[in-house]
């Protein structure tokens, strides 16, 4: 479990980023961390990994204080950063260098995943494009079998088939003892992958619900005309009509549109949260 209590954080000479943030992340879930630019999504991941320290409050990862950066904790966390520097070595050498540092690393799994992403395992990292490097890191992260996978914009730079492959890999390789946090702007890439949605804004959690709860409480309906629906919580113009976010009165789950949900929460979080 990842537990964040009363987190306060700011970068030097910058405004306060987190002010008393509380969050609890349970095992066996893939969390989507959504927020506007500069709301601290990447910072939150770095704080969880322990490479940044909170000014106040505490973050524990599996019971260990993240800022202690204990080796046992780091062996169980894989952080796929949006910006990374990879050494100019072959993929094979990269695996030889980093694989032994993760006790549960599975090389067969790595090769299988890399094959799925259509990356030649004999390639040199310096010869790969940004997207291909990301595929190597995603494959390595999943093969590390770490209990905590933190991914910052993992689909950024991936082509369309690779995004599909990413979703497939995540769903097949995900284990129930893991916690995966995916921070992203590319909401549509994560449809049908996330099990919980967290929206942060202004240093606070605006929304934190499981997808099952979302489906149970809210419904997304597309109507052709801009007709006013009295009970509509949010309306957005989409191709072919208007998409309404409505309370789910029928009990039938609808396909969740994360973009509409995000905009609805940003516009009036109280109105949305009142239904949970």
């Amino acid at each position: 479990m990842i537990q964040i209590n009363n987190l306060q954080f700011r970068y030097p000479r910058k405004p306060q980023l987190f002010q008393g943030l509380d969050l609890q992340l349970e095992q066996g879930r893939i969390y989507g961390l959504l927020g506007k630019n500069g709301t601290g999504k990447s910072t939150l991941l770095k704080l969880i990994q322990g490479v940044l320290f909170p000014q106040q409050g505490a973050i524990t990862v599996g019971g260990a204080l993240s800022s202690d950066r204990k080796a046992a904790m780091l062996e169980d966390i894989f952080f796929l950063s949006e910006e990374y520097e990879l050494p100019s070595i072959a993929i094979k050498a990269f695996v030889q260098a980093y694989g032994p540092l993760y006790p549960k690393y599975d090389n067969d799994k790595f090769n299988r995943l890399l094959e799925g992403f259509e990356v030649d395992a004999r390639s040199k990292l310096s010869e790969l494009s940004y997207g291909q490097k990301k595929k190597v890191l995603i494959s390595f992260g999943l093969a590390s079998n770490c209990r905590y996978l933190l991914m910052d914009e993992p689909t950024n730079g991936l082509d369309i088939p690779s995004k599909r492959q990413f979703r497939k890999a995540m769903l097949t390789e995900f284990r129930t003892d893991q916690i995966v946090i995916i921070s992203t702007h590319q909401i549509r890439d994560l449809n049908q992958l996330l099990e919980s949605v967290i929206i942060i804004e202004g240093g606070k959690i605006l929304f934190n619900q499981s997808v099952a709860e979302l489906e149970d409480k809210l419904t997304f309906e597309t109507r052709l005309n801009a007709e006013v629906v009295a009970e509509s919580l949010y309306t957005d113009r989409v191709a072919g009509g208007y998409l309404h976010l409505l309370p789910n009165t029928s009990g039938e789950p609808s396909e969740i549109d994360l973009e509409v949900l995000f905009n609805a929460v940003i516009e009036d979080q109280q109105k949305i949260n009142a239904h949970f």
């Binding site: 950066r69 080796a71 780091l74 966390i77 520097e85 070595i89 050498a93 030889q96 032994p100 540092l101």
Partner: protein, 248 residues
């Protein structure tokens, strides 16, 4: 503090793989430069050959070794590098020990090895004055490295970028600061020796020779303790905590 020898070995293996090219190039460069310099200066009329030999060693150890120490945490120069290095699955102590080993043990050993090779080879055609003088000069630079390395190592962790020039500036500031503090203390405690900020004119000092002997001995012991025990230990401990509190 966590320390696991297997993890340390894995960390060193990782460094050896990731930095294989710069390591090989560095070793080859050290060998070539040292051998060229030593051989070219091995004999010069009017100078002692061993002096040249040892100066080359001093240069490569002190300048090369300390420069290497300033860049040994080169990952810190970028935010992505810091995230990567600090997130490597190993304890702070293990990360510190690996980089300390490279700069404090392996590099001087490499320099010594080259020195001994050249010395042994050149001994066959150059008549050195005596081994004792060569090794005395050699030990001086090793002692200097023993004292200065921990200080530079700490700055290598503290600063993220432009470590070498920052270390030079910090060292100068520290030196000036120390001189100023000692001068002020001297001015306060030995007030009667001064007229303003200058020494009083017509002052004659006739110290007791036994007192001078005792003070000299005591000061030497204090200086030795500070230089060889306190300074290296203090800065190594500070380095550990600097790395522990290092953030991305």
């Amino acid at each position: 503090m966590e320390f696991n020898i297997n993890r340390l070995i894995r960390l060193m293996k990782r460094d050896a793989i990731v930095y294989r090219k710069p390591i090989v190039l560095g070793i080859v460069a050290v060998f070539i430069v040292l051998i060229l310099l030593m051989v070219s200066y091995a004999y010069d009329g009017g100078f002692f050959p061993e002096f040249f030999l040892v100066t080359r060693f001093n240069f490569s150890l002190l300048v090369g070794g300390l420069l290497l120490t300033t860049i040994i945490f080169w990952e810190f120069k970028s935010a992505a590098g810091r995230v990567h290095f600090l997130g490597i699955p190993a304890s702070t102590l293990e990360k510190l020990v690996t980089r300390w080993t490279y700069t404090f043990l392996l590099f001087p050993l490499l320099c010594l090895l080259v020195f001994l090779l050249v010395y042994l080879i050149s001994s066959s055609f150059i008549l050195y004055k005596g081994n004792s003088e060569v090794f005395e000069l050699l030990s001086d630079s090793l002692m200097a490295y023993w004292i200065v390395h921990p200080i530079v190592f700490m700055f290598g962790i503290w600063y993220n970028r432009y470590v070498a020039p920052k270390v030079v500036v910090s060292a100068l500031l520290f030196a000036f600061g120390t001189v100023a503090v000692f001068f002020i203390m001297h001015r306060i405690f030995f007030n009667e020796l001064y007229s303003g900020f200058a020494l009083a004119e017509g002052l004659t000092v006739d110290p007791d020779p036994t007192f001078q002997f005792k003070v000299e001995g005591m000061m030497e012991n204090i200086a030795r303790f500070l230089g060889f025990v306190f300074v290296p230990l203090f800065f190594t401990v500070v380095s550990y905590f600097k790395l522990k509190e290092k953030q991305a």
